[in-house]
Symmetry: D2
Subunit: 156 residues, 4 copies
Amino acid sequence: MKHISYINDMEAWKDSFEFYHSIKVRFSETDMFGHLNNTVPFAYFEEARIEFFNHLGFMQKWTEKSSSTIPVVANQQCDYLKQVYFSEQLKIYVKINQVGNSSMDIHYMASAQDGAICFVGRSTIVQMSTLTGKGEPWSDYMKQIIETSVNIHCMS
Amino acid sequence: MKHISYINDMEAWKDSFEFYHSIKVRFSETDMFGHLNNTVPFAYFEEARIEFFNHLGFMQKWTEKSSSTIPVVANQQCDYLKQVYFSEQLKIYVKINQVGNSSMDIHYMASAQDGAICFVGRSTIVQMSTLTGKGEPWSDYMKQIIETSVNIHCMS
Amino acid sequence: MKHISYINDMEAWKDSFEFYHSIKVRFSETDMFGHLNNTVPFAYFEEARIEFFNHLGFMQKWTEKSSSTIPVVANQQCDYLKQVYFSEQLKIYVKINQVGNSSMDIHYMASAQDGAICFVGRSTIVQMSTLTGKGEPWSDYMKQIIETSVNIHCMS
Amino acid sequence: MKHISYINDMEAWKDSFEFYHSIKVRFSETDMFGHLNNTVPFAYFEEARIEFFNHLGFMQKWTEKSSSTIPVVANQQCDYLKQVYFSEQLKIYVKINQVGNSSMDIHYMASAQDGAICFVGRSTIVQMSTLTGKGEPWSDYMKQIIETSVNIHCMS
């Protein structure tokens, strides 16, 4: 397998995921080349990431009308390893790879039903203040949740 | 051509449009059957309708943060007459067909470069109050703009 | 509830559905008005319809590379009854309402977790020959499956 | 501006683009946070890249039914520098950054009407054989076109 900058040891990396969200490829997500269009994995990443944040207890806060912080994607990438087709059932694994002051680095791995990895990716998520437009440091409460999650995933 | 419930006389109907918005079919909008996916014309309708509302001077008001009314789609439909393919250049014609107290009936016609009609449609748009969730009657100012538009399109 | 042309008796109509497919509203499917964008229900309809066709045993045939027939949408419509928001879990009910020579009329009903109906719709699906571009009559085998389905749904 | 791995000297990089494709942000492309959803720039990249390939004279070959090669995205990334809003008019600049045996590295830069850079990105595109599923080396004819393009863009 070719080198991917954010993966050192593929086997260890694969084993570091625990949480996943299942999706099934929609017909409207294919393109005229007969496979999943390259723009769609980012919608899957977002969906799986939000399910993961829900699981951690984050997401609700961010979607309250009164919230003055929102999570924004600062950058992201996807490496496509295998073509994906209509109606395939994928597991989108998600983990927090690293935590900064107001950001985190999220990793994704999409695997097919036979276990083959179809595509992988990563995003930097920043907690942004809607008042200043700048990064808003994680609260102690969130830091605790995040660190617990990272420990679970890195130390298991 | 088969009967379409909202079109009485196809030739007169075609002639009743003036405003159009041009779009070009994106690769990501095709599907594995090799043509434009059936869900996409509604995004084209929305884009063309908003350009039309901009042209009439409506849209800005509705997208101001302080606005307490928004336009919502109450119902819509599309009749697909000809398959559409990647990179085709379409004209999406839009007109106000009828005006109610807080609603209007919008018609659409998409034509290809050779003039063939590819799909047609209609939407009922309601001006909704974000405070009550109910229809908000058109102001006199808006009514005047709408009626001028309808007259132009019906009487020309 | 306002009149919807393809629904005579709302209570009887609601009771006539059996099959449903569950979906959860994605973040990327909302728009800046804070609710589900009006173009998305048609992607849900397509997804639920295909799951229904799978269930009946149709879909596989149509997506084989050697198939010379594909299902195309000839027309469709949606009536939006209640705003839908991010992360709502919807049941998209699907049924065959009527069968023609090479077409069928499909009905949809989307209900929220509290049972409220959020939007309803219908599509005319035509089995098209990819060789002639024209409608291809249902085979006896398909007719039998369709009629069984319609009977089940109408007579139960 | 923060460091972006594929940009050494931002000013020189900005000046290295010539070709651009204009797009206008659709309403259906916003999300409930009120800005352009993070998944959409990849659709813009694809649209601009294809317009660029058209301009170079590539794309037609790849979308012919008889073609045994298609361009696939092997990996891609986006760095979001400024929030983008509904109805903004963007220029999506595209260039070939580097050429391999059967692949190329494409760079993108999206700028707003005031000249501010909103997001940047890159994709590795591979010419894939649909028969073998493997990379298909560029023909001499394509190599010549690509190299001319790279020279134009790097030497100007």
